[in-house]
Symmetry: C2
Subunit: 176 residues, 2 copies
């Protein structure tokens, strides 16, 4: 066992994401992550404080990734939703954790900062797409995209291509 793994924090984060994506957050445990990384059972906790700290780091990373995904946003409300859905497709573990605040330290400063940043990006993107009544439009678009994503993730939508199906669903409601 070599001291100073060098990259343990990142390795644990990545492995955790794989485990969550494959088996859900309930299957995650620190000791297994330690075994997979080839370190002692207490090593992961050093970097994250505790299990919730690890999930906090994932949530923060998730909000940052989401902010990035919404950065170069299209002027189309529907395509904005597609981005949201695609984000959940590309980063299932992040998405899963982000919206389970009971699993991490929801009041951590980094969490609030990252979430606010993503929120501002969403707000700005909706504003350019639909100038009038920005707040309600944002809530409607967010709710639709979020709900669609959740239903898809919990297996309630069959096995159609999510992005295409979302376009059809959004076309029913949004005219933009």
């Amino acid at each position: 066992m070599a001291y100073h793994h060098g990259d343990l924090r990142r390795v644990v984060l990545d492995t955790a994401q794989r485990v969550i994506a494959e088996s859900g957050p309930a299957a995650l445990n620190l000791r297994d992550l330690a075994r997979r990384a080839g370190v002692s059972h207490a090593a992961p906790a050093y970097h994250f404080g505790d299990k919730a700290g690890l999930l906090t780091a994932i949530a923060v990373e998730g909000y940052e990734l989401l902010a990035d995904a919404l950065a170069e946003a299209p002027g189309d409300l529907r395509e904005l939703g597609v981005r949201y859905v695609r984000f959940a497709l590309d980063h299932p573990a992040h998405f899963e954790i982000m919206f389970r605040p009971d699993l991490y330290h929801r009041d951590a400063a980094e969490v609030i900062a990252a979430r606010d940043r993503a929120g501002r990006r969403l707000r700005a993107a909706v504003r350019t797409a639909r100038p009038g009544k920005p707040d309600l439009a944002r809530l409607a678009a967010w709710s639709l995209a979020h709900g669609f994503t959740m239903l898809w993730r919990t297996g309630n939508l069959g096995d159609a291509d999510p992005a295409e199906l979302f376009r059809a669903v959004a076309g029913q409601t949004f005219t933009t």
Copy 2:
């Protein structure tokens, strides 16, 4: 300690719902439920097999309650959504568990039956509310209501009255 508690199954179910509503499913544990009911630590498992079995029972009950809530459905798509939101308000623990299939036995026959029943109710309610394009309309309505509910539950919607806010949001999208 009296043998034959008489109503242990129901007591454990109810207590579990209270715990989940207050502290989330991660805080739930069988031994604490046993202590609260005044029985031995293994008693709850007798009725549910294991922890996932307990959550399975809650999920089934949740789908049945949802089916009931959608039974006498209004002809208005927006009010149908309000019912969905209100269901989540009234039965937070059920709602929480229902859409976390990784926590329970998602393939159990009772789960599938109850979920199908609720699905048929939803389908029927949407059909009467909006005759054309039933599938896409159902997905859109479900996604909007579900997403709104999830965002509200995770604290992303501030502290407005959920039902009223949903009416406003739905008014933005649905014309019916």
